[in-house]
Symmetry: C2
Subunit: 196 residues, 2 copies
Amino acid sequence: MNIKIEKLIKQFAKLPRVGTRAATRIVIGLLQDKTGRAESLANALLDASKSIHPCSVCGVLTDGDVCEYCSDSVRKNGQLCMVRDLSDVLVIEKSGVFHGRYHVLGGSLSGVNGVTPDDLNIANIPARIKNENIEEIIFALPNTVEGKTTQQYIISSIGNMGVSFSELASGVPLGGDLDYIDDGTLTLAFGGRKKL
Amino acid sequence: MNIKIEKLIKQFAKLPRVGTRAATRIVIGLLQDKTGRAESLANALLDASKSIHPCSVCGVLTDGDVCEYCSDSVRKNGQLCMVRDLSDVLVIEKSGVFHGRYHVLGGSLSGVNGVTPDDLNIANIPARIKNENIEEIIFALPNTVEGKTTQQYIISSIGNMGVSFSELASGVPLGGDLDYIDDGTLTLAFGGRKKL
């Protein structure tokens, strides 16, 4: 096979949920397309990778200074939902169960993968609690060892600021990603969240 | 969701074998990555879409004037294998059952999708038969109505040039893509090809 095509297939095959066979189909389909889909996809990706960055307040990906959730005056203040990344925000938004503010950590603490507190969006949480009069922090992190470790680390690093902590009720399957949960289960999990 | 991200997800979701959920993961993963994977993928795609084009002889995607199959002096002349696109060439090459030359049509005739003979890489087949002393044309097109229609059209348009025609033996499941066939079945299909 042509080396350029082979390299491109390898890059596509590294994307989440895309294997070598799907990557081959994708690349050949794009390169054979005469309507310029390959270029338009590449340009959209370049444009987004230049203009999209984490929101300066909560970490949600945005092309403005502050994201649509932080700048939305209709959303309730007082509750802060901690999630791992933007896709978890999208799942929660889709279910319509939560109307407070979000905080995207950008990952979970992990000794194996070398993710330390410095790699996560943690530093400005105390400032947010003060500025936004946060009364409750709801942890909606993955129900894994890494997720629980991260949760525990944040609770101990915040200390006694008069804020209460809760986590989603069971309903989130052990070892599961928020990505794969149906809206009903997610609603139950929000409703039955446990005081810590 | 941010409009730019939403648009990008929609573009990724249109790729073959990628749904909306996988596209969301891919886009968020790329945009959150700090090692520049999004830009490197976009640039590789832009570069390929500019430099890759069909081989002037057989239609296989290449960045040279003539592809690696046409310029390979070790391959046998005399047999020409007609396929729909490059991914079919890759499947046949992987099985190692065929050592002749290829001809990539770039699609199948289809009234429904508005694909006419002018859209396919058909015009230079008579010239190839003469120049390359082709004795046999082997059709390895999808076993569908469109594939058979295309095959019949090519046979009648070539007419009496002293070339014999064959098609892959059954073994290719009805309605199936060459992409999903194991090497053993493909070898049987080549061995048992039928004279037309």
